[in-house]
């Protein structure tokens, strides 16, 4: 089981990877979305805000997200550190994502571009 701090650190690693990728920022400049990341085994909620191509990470939940990502803490930390791809936990049901299909696929594209296969 990962801790809230580990999840936060993984999200910061994800944010760092995102910010290093200028192409990714340009590609996402019209994709303004709010993503809620929540663990289902520990008390941990974070919000990713994508606005004008910039990604910020905030502690805590938000009222009306566009996408909700739910998994156990270990999966979330591994996922945002890029140690696992989202597809495998998604396909075995460990990772649950709510939102429009296009947004979910876009989030996976971003992860692929930051961490590779």
């Amino acid at each position: 089981m990962a801790t809230h701090e580990e999840i936060r650190d993984s999200l910061r690693a994800f944010q760092e990877g995102y910010n290093k990728n200028k192409k990714l920022k340009i590609m996402n400049r019209d994709w303004n979305r709010v993503v809620l990341i929540e663990a289902n085994d520990v008390e941990s909620k974070h919000t990713l805000i994508l606005k004008d191509g910039e990604l910020t990470v905030c502690e805590g939940a938000t009222d009306n997200p566009d996408i909700i990502v739910t998994a156990d803490s270990e999966t979330l930390a591994d996922l945002f550190y890029g140690d696992i791809t989202p597809t495998e936990p998604y396909m075995n049901g460990t990772l649950i994502i709510k939102g429009s299909e296009d947004d979910i696929v876009r989030l996976d594209f971003i992860s692929l571009m930051i961490w590779g296969e």
């Binding site: 089981m1 990962a2 801790t3 580990e6 650190d9 993984s10 690693a13 192409k23 590609m27 709010v34 809620l36 929540e38 289902n40 909620k45 939940a61 938000t62 009222d63 009306n64 997200p65 566009d66 996408i67 909700i68 739910t70 270990e74 930390a77 591994d78 550190y81 890029g82 140690d83 791809t85 989202p86 597809t87 495998e88 998604y90 396909m91 075995n92 049901g93 649950i96 994502i97 709510k98 939102g99 429009s100 299909e101 296009d102 979910i104 696929v105 876009r106 996976d108 594209f109 692929l112 571009m113 961490w115 590779g116 296969e117």
Partner: protein
């Protein structure tokens, strides 16, 4: 998950019904409708269609329970994985996608024939290439058909079909003379088996589970879509067979055009061209999106070669997956165009769909035993009766198709063996290659000491 948090964008029941019915309504469904009538001697096509719809409702109930339990866009892949095992889930999913590609091939062929009928100077081949290029281009650039447009097309299409049927029946002052004359139980069974094809794709709405507030909306939407479609198909098929000689309809890939032409002349042709074009493009587009996403996700999971996970840096779309489907789709369409064997594809889809529904019924039973305490927002009433009946009925229907069309059994059997071989021989190698590549090419990013301390 926190139930208090609500998504910004959610889908309504209206759009769910339109999506479920819209994916089902296509050019090839009219061919299947005429096939249904062809099995029966009297005006009993309505009976077979309504029975087919009713049977599909039992499958829809099974999908509702599964979808409520596991609300995911991964759909059958995940349901069958939980109920049986990943190997079976993957084998069936790969084959299912291949059959859906075949349906797209049949669909494009039929649509090309319709357009060729309306514009004889342009060959069907040119139409096939134009349609595939347009839809592929839309998918690569990332243009999506808006929800309201899908709603307008689906509801407009259903209203127009009913109107045309009423006009046709009124013109000949139709009287139901032999509403129950089926020509025997075997004929009725075959008609119902093919009739199931009319509803193929209703369950493709389950991936929208991630975009609704409550999974009950999906089950309601599916059931209502099947109910409405049953009535539309039943009335339209009876009108077609009552106004146009049955032999002409059965031997034509475009029976709906013959019907429209017979009752309204050139105006009817123009209306039907527009209707079919709208219906086909949405079905075609949805099929292409669904398959390209499946191919992309499979490549991300290392089930297919990683080249299929390449994305366009300009449009954020899986362009290799989309282009590959374009090539395969055009090849299937060309094969259909030259062989004219579109009915094999239609019957294969009906049989495959029956197999999927059998597995869905069994999955409900297995999961109730395997995961008795799992949350089920929707649970089919009456214990095991409906899932067991659904599994049994669709087994019989699949058997009926296999015995009537042995080629279908042969092709699907070969497809199943090929898919199983791929899953058991090729997929483990692809996964192993990926593991080696990972081990040599990258280090673990998550701080190792901390992760190990946590027992990772």
């Amino acid at each position: 998950m926190n139930d208090l948090v609500k998504l910004k964008k959610i889908l309504t029941l209206r759009t769910i019904i339109a999506t479920s019915a819209g994916l089902t309504l296509s050019s090839s469904t009219f061919v299947a409708a005429v096939q249904v009538a062809g099995f029966l001697v009297g005006d009993a096509a309505w009976l077979a269609i309504l029975t087919g719809g009713l049977l599909c409702m039992t499958a829809a109930l099974c999908f509702s329970e599964l979808n409520g339990m596991i609300p995911s866009a991964a759909g059958i892949r995940l349901y069958f994985n939980h109920a049986f095992n990943d190997r079976l889930a993957l084998t069936v999913s790969l084959l299912y996608m291949a059959v859906i590609m075949g349906v797209i091939g049949a669909e494009s062929y039929i649509l090309a024939e319709i357009l060729h009928e309306a514009f004889p100077l342009i060959s069907p081949l040119a139409w096939i290439l134009v349609m595939f290029t347009v839809v592929t281009g839309m998918n690569i650039v990332g243009i999506r058909i808006a929800g309201w447009f899908q709603d307008a097309i689906t509801y407009g299409l259903m209203v127009t079909l009913i109107s045309l049927a009423v006009i046709g029946l009124a013109k000949i002052d139709f009287q139901l003379s032999a509403p129950l004359a089926t020509g025997g139980a075997v004929n009725l069974l075959n008609a119902v088996a093919v009739g199931v094809f009319l509803f193929v794709g209703f369950e493709w709405v389950t991936p929208l589970a991630e975009e609704v507030t409550h999974s009950r909306l999906i089950s309601r939407g599916m059931l209502l879509a099947i109910g409405i479609l049953s009535v539309v198909y039943a009335v339209f098929t009876v009108a077609m067979t009552a106004t146009v000689p049955r032999e002409s309809l059965v031997n034509s890939p475009i029976p709906q055009m013959l019907f429209a032409q017979t009752i309204l002349g050139d105006t009817g042709t123009a209306i039907m061209v527009m209707l079919t074009l709208a219906a086909s493009i949405t079905t075609f587009n949805a099929g292409l999106i669904g398959i390209s996403r499946f191919v992309y996700a499979s490549a991300r999971e290392h089930v297919l070669p990683s080249i299929f996970s390449k994305i366009s840096l300009r449009f954020f779309t899986p362009w290799v997956a989309v282009l590959s489907i374009f090539v395969i789709g055009v090849l299937i369409s060309l094969l259909t165009l030259f062989s004219h064997r579109y009915l094999v594809l239609v019957n294969m889809a009906a049989a495959m769909e029956s197999v999927i529904y059998v597995l869905a019924g069994l999955a409900v039973i297995v999961l109730r035993k395997k995961m008795p305490d799992a949350q089920r927002p929707y649970r089919i009433r009456g214990g095991y009766i409906i899932p067991a009946a659904s599994a049994l009925i669709f087994s019989l229907l699949a058997l009926a198709i296999f015995t009537t069309f042995p080629r279908v059994f042969l092709y699907l059997g070969l497809g199943m063996l090929l898919s199983y071989w791929y899953v058991t021989r090729v997929v483990p190698r692809l996964k192993q290659l990926q593991r080696q590549k990972r081990a040599s090419g990258r280090r673990r990013r998550r701080p190792v000491a901390h992760a190990e301390k946590q027992g990772d």
